[in-house]
Symmetry: C2
Subunit: 330 residues, 2 copies
């Protein structure tokens, strides 16, 4: 199969990414949590634990897949990213493992705890620009003036292939005896969902992939239902990992083509899911990491009797946000 | 080497336990967390992530090691334990995997969330007796009337051998190139520390093992410094995993013989460590799971320049306690 608008990557791309990742990242667990199952009667959940990745989120797959795909010359000139979150941590981790200089551009006044984490992984942090767009402009300047490679968080085939390795692992962990009816994926830019669709199509054609977005950042969801790209003025959700304001050209056609359903969950539902996951499994997940469970709860009437995969895609919850959630202020 | 009072198990016991565990439990990660290192300047920490075990604590090693060591006849009669915590979850998990009936005796009024978790793993929960001692009496009755095997949380060589598999994994994960100067172990009954001492003596004789207890439950610590067994009236700490009131005959001589140091940390220091671990690594640890880091911080002046292993031994923090910690009420 060759890539197309609806399938920007192939299983071979995912297999190649997995080969490149294998030195740096071990497979994450796929687990049952009986006490979590008890909270959604009638469903059997399987949880993919991306929250236990070395940087606390699946994005490290994308970062390693991106940097390992660069030429020696590109590696020596270094990589630049504009992001303050899990994408940046993934790039920083990959740069540290591979000896590639990584610069992360963040806006002035960015969360100091996040800047410290990026620096701890060895990244150079440039705090400049009034907002995210300003940080992107700084990153672009470094690309032009210093020949660095820009590592986009979504619109890059190596990122999509890296994200696809997660679903490939699920497929292998299930083996030939265990079935899975549906896989629910939280969608920001859509890398993880496109990776899942690519793998499912090739090796588990019966597996339905369902998307979920935050109700406060529904661009891809709205576009999917309207069958056309969308953008929004704001992205209003505490789940910053999925706080995107537009559909992306590289992923949107594939989402349109492949998802069997696409729903939204509110911040209140996400906060409730964080609390339930914490009290039943004692795993800390960030907002995006709780959305699979929130969606499974919402879709439970139509998923009765089914085996449903959900992803704890990240665990990097700010302490202050967690505190508000536990105090029922979110 | 044969077992003695000071070495109740041998490396061969640990190797045999590891063989029995291998079908049910994958090795847990041993990781660096640069942002956590930054919080204790001068030390390089290596974190053993027992908090990501299927039941959220290292005790699952002990439970699987205990039940896999039973004869077929013993397995069919079932196992009984008196505990409401991680030991019970470990037994319940092992029983579910091996098809062995597990009964956990808890006192009336026990935390309903914990009872639910035990039942979710398939254990029968008997809520009877006014306190822990009452639950022990119920368990003893089941041993006598039904021929069940009592699974003690500490005073059992299979438990010690199971706990030792953790240090064996650390040894293998370090390999021949990575060194480790000291390993800090939180001590309740002492199974993990005795396991560590057994493995260290056999394969890493230069590794110092340091014990840490909660200042509110210091029986083993006080006994170690007095060179004689001790018991206390109360065990006053929110770190319930180490809230023991006495030294144990099977482990105390080995602790006396092998630990190079033994300190205490206060509940305030443990709570502070929980917060630091959460904000730098985003791993949720329970009180006992934070004590290695609390001790490393306290001992930092004497550990400068050293590579120090700490254990996130469990992650099963009650939501209500976590909330108090984040609100700085603990």
């Amino acid at each position: 199969m060759t890539p197309s608008a609806a399938t920007p990557i192939t299983l071979d791309d995912v297999l190649a990414a997995r080969e490149r990742l294998s030195t740096y990242l071990a497979p994450t667990p796929l687990r049952s949590h009986p006490a979590l199952d008890a909270a959604v009667p009638g469903l059997t959940l399987l949880v993919k634990h991306e929250n236990v990745q070395p940087t606390g989120s699946f994005k490290v797959r994308n970062g390693v897949a991106t940097i390992t795909a660069l030429s020696a010359a590109e590696r020596s000139r270094g990589v630049v990213g504009a992001t303050t979150g899990n994408h940046g941590l993934g790039l920083a981790f990959a740069g540290r493992q591979l000896g590639v200089p990584v610069t992360i551009c963040v806006p002035r006044g960015n969360n100091p705890e996040k800047n410290a984490a990026l620096r701890a992984w060895g990244a150079t942090v440039i705090e400049e620009g009034d907002d995210y767009e300003g940080a992107v402009a700084v990153a672009q300047r470094l690309v032009e003036s210093e020949g660095r490679t820009l590592a986009h968080s979504t619109n890059n085939v190596n990122v999509l292939a890296g994200a696809g390795t997660m679903t490939l692992e699920i497929h292998e962990q299930l083996g030939t005896t265990d079935s899975l009816d549906a896989l629910i994926i939280a969608i920001g830019g859509g890398s993880q969902a496109v990776g899942a669709l690519t793998v499912a199509r090739a090796v588990r054609p019966g597996l339905r992939v369902i998307g979920v977005q935050a109700a406060g950042a529904p661009a891809a969801h709205d576009g999917w239902h309207a069958r056309a790209p969308r953008s929004t003025e704001r992205a209003a959700t505490f789940a910053e990992g999925v706080a995107t304001r537009a559909t992306y050209p590289l992923t949107f056609p594939a989402l349109l083509d492949g998802l069997t359903d696409f729903i939204t969950v509110t911040d209140a539902e996400i906060a409730d899911a964080v609390r339930t996951i914490l009290s039943t499994t004692h795993h800390l997940v960030e907002g995006a990491g709780a959305m699979g469970f929130a969606a499974a709860s919402k879709l439970a009437p139509s998923l009765q009797g089914q085996r449903v995969g959900i992803i704890f895609c990240g665990g990097n919850m700010d302490t202050a946000v967690l505190r508000r959630i536990l105090n029922h202020e979110l």
